[in-house]
Symmetry: C2
Subunit: 236 residues, 2 copies
């Protein structure tokens, strides 16, 4: 860790401390929604995008709080990591830290639905089909948008079709400042990969296309955009 600190400090390409003094709250990974003690609903998020952003934000001088669903990644050095499992736990951890945050970046793939009933014992299988009743989880980004005061709010949209339309709609509906959208069906984009292909949609109507690049590069570019936006907002 000392070596890591020294490397950061002396690196020729050490990032500029664009986020010094800022608190950046990041969510990452999937959530797990239990049916019973054994089974759960989840999704393919591995947390790589969020962990890359957490690491780069820390290198840019930010105080980083990372709220993470269950992933196999190592907690990034120098980052305050809060581990959660369900959408409800993620909601609570995010809201608890919201007032302290200058920037919130929601990369987590939070379950939209959870089983209405969570069984305390393993459900035994029976002949024939079953019906699983699902209910909506809390929409964290929507709630953050409603309670927004000074925070810059950045959402992610992992889509398989009509990416721009969904991203623009999400930006407006959630009162977000930026939406980072990717088409998870593209090779080199989305879940589990070390690269991504994204487009950043901003509230002012502009957009920034980022072609295939490493998730670390996407993180750096996104954070630079965020830092510039914070600077512009500060001049108002």
């Amino acid at each position: 860790r000392i070596v890591e600190l020294l490397e950061d400090h002396f690196a020729a390409e050490a990032p500029r401390p664009l986020l010094k003094g800022k608190t950046v709250l990041i969510t990452a990974g999937p959530t797990r929604e239990k049916l019973d003690p054994v089974r759960y609903l989840t999704n393919h998020s591995t947390g790589k995008m969020g962990y890359a952003i957490a690491e780069e934000a820390r290198k840019m001088g930010a105080h980083v709080i990372l709220v993470s669903g269950p992933v196999t990644l190592k907690p990034p050095f120098g980052v305050e990591t809060v581990n959660v499992e369900s959408a409800q736990e993620m909601y609570e951890a995010v809201m608890k830290n919201y007032s302290d945050a200058d920037v919130v970046i929601k990369t987590a793939a939070v379950a939209d639905y959870r089983p209405k009933t969570v069984h305390g014992k393993k459900i035994k299988k029976q002949e024939g089909g079953q019906t699983l009743e699902l209910e909506r989880t809390k929409d964290i980004l929507l709630e953050l948008g409603r309670q927004k005061h000074h925070q810059l709010l950045v959402g992610f949209a992992a889509e398989t079709d009509n990416v721009e339309e969904y991203a623009r709609r999400k930006l407006a509906k959630k009162n977000a400042d930026m939406i980072v959208a990717n088409n998870v069906t593209e090779a080199g984009a989305g879940f589990g990969t070390d690269t991504n292909i994204v487009t950043l949609y901003k509230k002012d109507g502009s957009e920034v296309h980022m072609p295939l690049m490493s998730k670390a590069d996407v993180a750096r570019k996104l954070l630079a955009e965020i830092a510039h936006q914070l600077e512009r907002d500060g001049l108002k």
Copy 2:
């Protein structure tokens, strides 16, 4: 790997080649049952028990075929590993290798149910709840029991209650030779741990209790029981 071979060979406690000339087919890990390209149903199995058995069986001289669901473990050295994702893929991989097997050990936590409809595009969330229609997957152990000729068939039962009753019923219903049962709610047993607490129920009505021990020790004890059973069956 050469070092590993040498270590195996010269180890003071090198296991006896009890399974030399035998083919052991092992299933491990969870399965994933897709709702759409992003979401899936799964369970807490990490594959540790099955991978431990694969490794020990190989050390005892067996030819090992490991059919594995998605896990983060490294494929064991010297083991033929077949990676699958869904219950259906696991069923096909197991049946394909069944006639070659002398022993089948089913540690995988295969999904009993899968979504009736798999959506090609990400399902958009809507207001209010949803109903998910589930259908039964193929019961692999039942099918193996039906088609059994010379094979010794070992099932696992991960239960949260009435462990013995369920295990005994499973043994009879599936035409299995042994059921290894554990109560996944006990500390030190079940999913994700490096230890286990199991009871082995045999067709002859006897049982072997294994108190808290490492999954490698459970594997060795179980395989020794299997080797002795094969020997007894050979004398008939």
